[in-house]
């Protein structure tokens, strides 16, 4: 479900195909509802080892993240800090992961490549950047740890399920229409780099 509250676009899980197809690269959104964490090892299990995720994640959000979690009093868990890790590490398996699991939102740090973009277009999903290094703000968006699976992978790599409120700002970087903001940005940066190398080198001649 998508709503606009005080000028903020808020998505609530289960996110539908229609919800994500209405999003465009550069949009800023916030998320309410169910997310789960998965990084390198979860992707290996699901795609290379062909195992099923322990629960249905259709319409939910995958976050590339390894939290610091501590046990809380009522035999549950509490997130101390959490933040996104580099999404590009999951680029190779992400096409199959999206296809197989039906996630609608992938949240991480930095951009992703053509495999992910292809899956986003084909199956209806988006990749979003959550500004990294903001581990306390992000931890406070998690209302409850609703479960943990595959804890044998260790705390950062395990599959943590959480309920979040107002998780964001999430900046859409890959949309369903084939746009990839990071890839576009990287090209611009590369072009400006050449201009700057030339400009700096010229100025250096006069000082050295």
């Amino acid at each position: 479900m998508t709503e606009t509250i005080n000028g903020k676009t808020i998505l609530t899980t289960p996110v539908t195909e229609e919800d994500v197809r209405a999003l465009h690269a550069g949009d800023v959104i916030y998320l309410n509802g169910d997310i789960f964490t998965g990084r390198d090892d979860v992707h290996i299990r699901v795609t290379r080892e062909n195992r099923e995720l322990p629960s249905d994640v259709r319409g939910k959000a995958l976050m590339h993240a390894g939290p610091i979690v501590k046990s809380s009093d009522e035999n549950g868990f509490e997130v101390v800090v959490i933040g996104p890790t580099t999404s590009m590490r999951m680029e190779k398996p992400e096409y199959d992961f999206i296809k197989k699991t039906g996630v609608r939102l992938i949240i991480g740090k930095g951009g992703m490549g053509s495999h992910t973009a292809e899956a986003c277009r084909e199956f209806g999903a988006v990749h979003c950047v959550l500004p990294a290094g903001n581990a306390v703000v992000t931890a406070l968006c998690t209302e409850e740890v609703t479960g943990v699976e595959w804890l044998d992978l260790g705390m950062p790599e395990a599959l943590w399920s959480m309920r979040v409120k107002g998780l964001g700002p999430l900046i859409v970087t890959i949309d369903t229409g084939g746009r990839n903001l990071f890839a576009e940005k990287k090209e611009k940066i590369a072009a400006r780099k050449e201009e700057q190398i030339e400009a700096i080198s010229k100025k250096l001649v006069s000082i050295l």
Binding site: K109, G133, N134, V137, I189, K193, Q196, I197
Partner: protein, 301 residues
């Protein structure tokens, strides 16, 4: 104070200081981020700066680490030859990491190579890393601390250029690296450039450059001018906060230099992310301390 009391005192202060630097950014970084935010007009970049300041406020208020990656601990020591704990110093700094990991808490990030096991304590073979400089005939000790994040250590690189490639070659080396890896290293970045004889000396200097304030300048006027040119040039590349575009890509560029062989030009490159958790603490012989990076710090033990 007995020697044992001195050791205990210094260990307590270092545990407390490391924990403090995981939670609170250095004064110069906070003020620089404020300046970059004030100069920004891109709405997406501004919302990222807002989130950073909200995170810094909440981290301080709740005493939690500002980033979930609390890094790999690196020390640089400039120790007087007559400092009373010179022989015990490495052991003090190592046990401080173990205690700070449990107390803060810090995320256990240290993995032994080849065995590929996480030690759980943030210590291991050569971890924390320590680089030494002995100050003759002096009885105090200066310690630089750095929590090196994974994401911002990844762009690091060093090479030896041919002198004919000149300082233009240095510019290309630095800008190439930033264009390729800068977006994912959590910019705005502090860029450290080492210029010296070979890869080892240049790489070491590039890391030491990250221990300098973002407001500092290289004492050589030509090197200082090159710092300024690089800073403006990298900002003009438009990497922006989180690599999403914006006016500033860097917090600053610091160059550290040394002499070179006539036939070589060594260049090292290191980056620190916007969560640049470096600290500087100075002890006298009685283990009184002062810090010029974190004005709010007092040892709570």
């Amino acid at each position: 104070m007995t020697k044992q009391e001195r050791i205990q005192r210094m260990t307590d202060i270092m545990v407390s200081f490391i924990g403090y630097t995981a939670v609170h950014l250095p004064d110069d970084i906070i003020s620089k981020l404020g300046e970059l935010k004030a100069a920004e007009d891109d709405p997406a970049a501004l919302s990222i700066y807002d989130m950073m300041f909200e995170n810094m406020r909440l981290a301080s208020e709740l005493g939690r680490p500002s980033c979930q990656d609390t890094g790999f601990v690196q020390y640089r020591i400039e120790c007087g030859s007559r400092f009373p704990l010179i022989n015990e110093l490495e052991e003090i700094l190592r046990s401080a990491v173990i205690k700070a990991t449990a107390d803060t808490p810090l995320r256990p990030n240290v993995v032994e190579t080849f065995d590929e096991v996480n030690t759980g304590s943030n210590t291991g073979t050569g971890a924390p890393s320590v680089s030494w400089k002995i100050i003759p005939d002096h009885d105090g000790c200066e310690i630089y601390t750095y929590l090196a994040g994974g994401g911002c250590s990844l762009p690091g690189h060093a090479t030896v250029l041919m002198p004919g490639e000149g300082y233009e070659g240095v510019v290309r080396f630095v800008l190439d690296r930033l264009a390729e890896y800068g977006q994912n290293a959590c910019p705005p970045l502090l860029v450290g450039v080492g210029i010296a004889n070979s890869v080892d000396t240049a790489a070491q200097l590039s890391k030491e450059a990250l221990f300098r304030s973002v407001y500092s300048q290289n004492p050589n006027p030509k090197a200082a001018e090159m710092e300024r040119l690089l800073e403006d040039g990298i900002n003009a590349m438009g990497i922006g906060p989180q690599g999403m575009g914006g006016k500033a890509s860097v917090l600053g560029v610091n160059i550290q230099n040394a002499a070179r062989h006539t036939a070589t030009l060594g260049v090292g490159f290191s980056t620190g992310c916007w969560t640049h958790r470096r600290g500087h603490i100075v002890f006298d012989r009685d283990i009184n301390y002062v810090t010029d990076t974190h004005s709010g710090f007092t040892c709570n033990k």
